[in-house]
């Protein structure tokens, strides 16, 4: 496979991670705690859309190899994830009078509850959307790029959502309020912003994006009750790399982590090809830069970046 091929794979995988990490970072900046239930919120979105897609079916036509019904299911998945997050915020996080550490621990418990509920309803086995898997796009195969139309759909949809969020944050009233609140909640409140409402909207947006990420993850791979949780560590790495609390940092971090993860085979090719001296160093690098350590390599790079920029890539910038 060529470099472009690995980059294309990385782009697809990054899209999913970016969707997950934006929400995590957004909630951190406004609700002020690291939400460990975020991965399982993705799972909720995925399963909600699975059920919807099963109910509505294909609805006739298809775009990018995906039936119309799938997009309906995607919207329902986003809505379901947002609704669950808002209810959790109202019923549990808000009444709890604890600091951010207490909320963090609570969210771990919430994560278990979400996962258990899904497991009770759907069992612990994996499943897939009832969509015919596609072969790679023929025109791109000669260039070593092996992506399907579904992969293109994932990247395009993620791009649309990310651009939409950018517009929302920069050019709308709600976006300005959110940025104000992320900067200084007390000041925002004094100046007449209804912080409680802004907080709820933050949950809606963050969890909605997570729901979308979950749906795409299900399309890309498969659905299982642990799918979101298994990705959570990578998402945290992306958020911390980007600078926690920063949405644009989360985008950059998610993109980088996803890319590095998928580019590992390329790195190991490069290491093999390079004339590294002395020989023992070459052997050491060859055995360490290997596909089995893809996540570890991504984390090492994360640590390296943090040593240079302790607040992450976008650590100095606000939301």
């Amino acid at each position: 496979m060529t470099v472009i091929g690995y980059l294309a794979n990385g782009l697809v995988f990054s899209s999913i991670i970016v969707l997950g990490s934006i929400g995590l970072s957004l909630v951190y900046s406004i609700a002020d705690f690291a939400n460990f239930a975020h991965g399982d919120t993705m799972t909720i979105g995925a399963y909600a859309s699975l059920v919807t897609f099963g109910a509505v079916g294909g609805l006739g036509g298809a775009v990018l190899g995906l039936p119309y019904g799938f997009f309906v299911a995607l919207v329902v998945g986003i809505a379901a994830a947002a609704a669950v997050a808002v209810i959790t915020e109202r019923v549990i996080y808000e009444p709890l009078d604890v600091d951010s550490i207490g909320l963090l621990i609570t969210s771990i418990g919430i994560a278990f509850v979400y996962r258990a509920l899904i497991q009770i309803r759907f069992g612990s086995d994996f499943t897939r959307f009832d969509i015919q898997p596609l072969r790679p796009i023929e025109a791109l195969v000669p260039y070593g790029v092996r992506v399907t139309l579904h992969d293109v759909a994932i990247v395009v949809s993620a791009a649309v959502l990310v651009v939409g969020l950018h517009v929302l944050l920069q050019y709308t009233d709600l976006g300005r309020k959110m940025r104000a609140m992320a900067d200084n909640p007390d000041l925002a409140r004094v100046s007449g912003i209804r912080t409680r409402r802004v907080k709820l909207w933050t949950w809606v947006i963050g969890a909605g994006l997570a729901g979308a990420g979950g749906v795409f993850l299900g399309l890309f791979n498969q659905l299982s009750p642990r799918m979101g949780f298994n990705l959570l560590l990578v998402i945290f790495a992306a958020v911390i790399l980007g600078g926690i609390g920063s949405v644009y940092g989360a985008m950059a971090g998610g993109f980088l982590i996803g890319m590095i993860n998928q580019l590992t085979p390329f790195f190991s090719d490069v290491v093999e090809a390079l004339p590294i001296w002395p020989g023992w160093l070459a052997r050491l690098l060859e055995s360490l830069i290997s596909i089995e350590y893809a996540n570890a390599i991504a984390f090492v790079i994360m640590v390296a970046v943090l040593l240079v920029r302790p607040n992450g890539i976008a650590g100095e910038g606000a939301t």
């Binding site: 550490i101 086995d125 897939r128 195969v141 560590l233 926690i244 100095e316």
Partner: protein
């Protein structure tokens, strides 16, 4: 994000906490997946619920037949009633219940057999606790258990070893159990799978193979045994972690290795992901797999035709033998479904235990460890049911006068405590598993 001076401290706390919580979460993952050893059974899709769950279902009414008032012989069983291997636990329970009814129809010297079942939760710690209760509190001299290879070994090393209790694992296939001769098992070792796979791949004319295996004890040991046995070149041999969201790197490297035969030693979910990625990347290769990659969930979640021609080796009961067929008939009548080989192993565990008890002079671990191998060993008259074997023993026969042929195979434990197992070679045809051959382990 606030830009005041507390920022850095917050970050640090958060990093610590996320790291710590991540570790906790990960350690949880590890322990649940550690048991490995036993894959799913290809011919079985029935994970349906089973009403009878362990425990006290078979207690009581001692001495109701035969007019004898002595209480029932009690042995113990550690099973995976909950946890990641609970599907095996359900299958085991059906086999055990059927075997118990066979034994108690006849009785052992006028007494009944009773099995106290405890749950291992499919984990080492739960298994040890269950075994400790059975051995130390209930004082059972014979322990059937457990499902996962890691659990079986943990029980052996921390509870059974050094006592005279007999341990017979019903479902463990891990290779390292062979190193513990005192730990018997009814299911064949994974080593025979590795040997069979290496022969099949060589017979199919491939002199290069690419292997990827799940990064745990099970995957590693099976793959090492395969590499030792295979005559051709293993041009790619790399582990992968469980529960990853993408294996496209692994499959593109396998494709890049140039081998036309790809061997997968992993679990169903991981394998299904890989197949989908192979399909959507447009790669072509001849697939081979260990038993743990087969399952109806794999067929359901992979594109039609994407794994046609794949060959898989699974531990199997000798389904063509009359002995097995009558077992399958009884099983189907009782539970309205076909038995799995895992149920057959559990069935044979109980029958073998009952015969050992009947052949022994007294109901102690020392006496049972003497008879447990001999009643099913190659010497003596060949019998295929508990009733027939029991008759010989009741007529004054010794343990060497009986050779019980199990429904799962001839048993015949070797000096390492491993049975002579049967393996079935499955081929995927029209997206269904079809048995094409049998191999004796």
């Amino acid at each position: 994000m606030s830009r005041d001076t507390t920022d850095a401290a917050d970050r640090r706390t958060l990093l610590k906490l996320t790291g710590g919580a991540g570790l906790v979460a990960l350690s949880g993952c590890l322990s649940t997946t550690d048991d490995g050893g036993d894959g799913d059974d290809g011919s079985d899709g029935s994970d349906g619920s089973d009403g009878s769950d362990g425990g006290d279902g078979t207690d009581g009414d001692d001495g109701s037949d035969g007019g004898d008032t002595t209480e029932a012989f009690q042995i113990g069983m550690v099973d995976s009633q909950t946890g990641s291997l609970s599907a095996f636990g359900e299958r085991n329970q059906r086999g055990v219940d059927l075997a118990l009814s066979r034994v108690n129809e006849v009785g052992i010297d006028g007494r009944e057999l009773d099995i106290a079942v405890e749950d291992s939760e499919s984990e080492n710690q739960g298994g040890i606790a269950a075994a400790q209760k059975l051995v130390n509190q209930d004082g059972v001299p014979f322990l059937i258990g457990a499902v996962g290879s890691g659990v079986s070994l943990a029980i052996y090393e921390s509870v059974v070893e050094g006592t005279d209790v007999v341990q017979l694992s019903q479902n463990s296939t891990g290779l390292n159990l062979t190193e513990f001769p005192g730990l018997l098992r009814m299911s064949p070792s994974g080593r025979s799978q590795s040997l069979a796979l290496s022969n099949i791949i060589a017979d199919d004319g491939y002199d290069e193979v690419a292997v990827t295996y799940v990064n745990n004890d099970y995957g590693q040991s099976l793959t090492d045994a395969f590499v030792d046995a295979y005559d051709g070149d293993v041009v790619y041999n790399t582990p992968h972690d469980q529960d990853q969201q993408s294996y496209s790197g692994v499959i593109s490297e396998m494709n890049g290795s140039g081998a036309d035969a790809w061997l997968f030693v992993t679990y169903q979910a991981e394998f299904a992901t890989m197949v989908n990625e192979v399909f959507s990347s447009g790669y072509e290769a001849q697939f081979y797999g260990a038993d743990s990659v087969s399952g109806d969930n794999v067929l359901e979640n992979t594109p039609e035709g994407s794994i046609d021609g794949m060959k898989i080796v699974v531990p199997s009961a000798p389904v063509e033998e009359e002995n097995y067929q009558s077992f399958a008939e009884d099983f189907a009548a009782e539970y309205d479904r076909q038995p799995t080989s895992w149920a057959a192993y559990a069935y044979d565990c109980v029958i073998n235990a009952a015969l050992a008890i009947q052949a022994a002079d007294e109901f102690t671990g020392a006496a049972l460890s003497d008879t447990v191998r001999r009643v099913s060993g190659p010497e003596g008259e060949t019998v295929t049911s508990f009733a027939a074997a029991s008759e010989i023993l009741a007529d004054g026969g010794g343990p060497d006068d009986v050779d019980y042929q199990g429904v799962s195979g001839p048993i015949d434990f070797n000096e390492d405590g491993d049975p002579v197992g049967f393996l079935q070679v499955l081929e995927v045809q029209d997206h269904e598993y079809e048995g094409i051959d049998f191999v004796e382990g």
